[in-house]
Structure formats: C-alpha cells, structure tokens
Amino acid sequence: MNTIELSLTEGLQIAVTELADALMETGPVADFKRAQSRYDTDAEVRALIDEYRAVQVTVRAHETDGTVTRAEIDQLRGLYQRVQTQETIAAFARSQRLSTHYLEQVVYELNDLIGLDFASFGTTASCCS
C-alpha cells in the first residue's frame, strides 16, 4: 500500500482495489496490459526501435551540418514504415487507444453515479484555482 492509498478511507481503498483488479482482468484494459507486456518483451520490437532511433539521430545530425544523403533519408522512412506496420507495435498502439476510450466510458458512468464530474475533481490541475 502506498502513501496515496493511505490517505483514502478503508472503504475507498477496498473499492479502488476491486475496480482496478476488475479493469485489469477483463476488457480493453486487460487487452492493453497484455499488449504492453508483449511490446516490452519483444526483442524484435526493441531492435527495430533502437535502429530507428539511431538512424533518426544520425539523419538529424547530418541535416544540421548539411551532409545528409538521400540514402539516409530513405533508410529512415523505410524504418518508420516498418515501425508503423510491425504487428506487436500496432497492437500495442491500438489497444492503448481502445483502453483509453473505454476508461472514458467508465468515468462517464462514475460521473452519473456520484452526480459530479470525477475527472474535474480528480485531476491535479484546476482552472478555477
């Protein structure tokens, strides 16, 4: 249990745990966690992203000193296309979008239950302060 949860009532701590467990075990958030795990542990993905970043750094440096070549730009574009179409990366990005949208729906339902906008009350930044 962390400091944040210690500041919650026991009832809230239990409710938070139950909702978080339910979200992580079923539906789009669970799908996202699985896709994230595959993304984090896929050696091919890591190698592809590392290669893309390295070439990107080289191209930027060569653009700055005016020595960038057509081949380097083509290599970067080719790697970008591979990143975009790589199955694990695409699944990770898609599941992230879906889980974010799903959580918005969950929060809408919470708003209805408690009669106020939880996101406005529950996020640190306040335009009214």
Binding site: L8, A20, K33, Q105, V107, Y108, A119
Partner: protein, 131 residues
C-alpha cells in the same frame, strides 16, 4: 458543480459495473462528499451569496480585456475589490470553496491510486471545468 452528460454503454462488464458502484458508494459516503453536498445546498439557499458571485463574475467579464492588460481604471479597480471582498468574505461561499477543495483532494487521491494500480491514467480532464 459540473456534471458531464452521461454516455451509457453496454460494453462495461457486470463485474466492472459492480466495482464501479462500489467506488461510487465509497466516494459518496466520505465526510468530504457530505460536506460538499451540504455546502452546495447552503449556497443554493443563500440568494445574497449567489448574487455576490454573479456580481463579481459580471464585473470581471465586463473588465476582461482591461484585466488582461492590467489597465483597469482606479474606480473600477475599487469596485472590483469591493465585489471580491463580498464574495470571499461570505462564509457560505468560503465554506463551499473549502468543501470543494477537500472533495477534490479525495478525488485526486482516488484517481492517483487507481492510476498507479492500472499503470495508466484512470480519469483525464478534458477542456475547462468552469465553463
């Protein structure tokens, strides 16, 4: 109080819906929630307090550009200060603001706890909260 229009969906599973109800009950049973509800009701009943808020908001809107440019004439500045004192010196309004802040602290802690457990933000604010 702002309340986002409800978008009902049938994609939320019964287990999650049950857990969500549990969270709603736990939130609405907190002292902070009760205090905010009572403060809101007191503010609704207090015509004078609401008139003070309306008066200040109208004046601030009227002087919006001049306030932005820090070019409010002395006479208006004095009037603005009088209106602000009327609002922030009103105990019903002060209680409402403090109750709101206390409830926000609870909601933020709840949101942070959920977000930490999920490894992603649970609730994200979209757009302004004062509109």
């Amino acid at each position: 109080m702002t309340n986002t229009p409800v978008q009902t969906t049938d994609t939320i599973s019964p287990r999650i819906r049950t857990a969500l109800h549990g969270l709603a009950v736990a939130l609405t049973e907190t002292d902070e929630f009760h205090r905010f509800e009572q403060a809101g009701e007191a503010l609704q009943r207090d015509t004078s307090a609401r008139q003070s808020i309306d008066g200040l908001q109208a004046k601030e809107k009227d002087l919006e550009v001049l306030l932005m440019l820090d070019a409010v004439p002395e006479e208006d500045r004095t009037e603005l200060e009088r209106l602000r004192q009327a609002v922030y010196g009103n105990p019903v309004i002060v209680e409402y603001v403090e109750a709101q802040q206390a409830l926000m602290t609870v909601c933020q802690a709840t949101n942070d706890a959920l977000s930490t457990r999920l490894g992603m933000r649970f609730a994200l604010k979209r757009g302004g909260c004062c509109g």
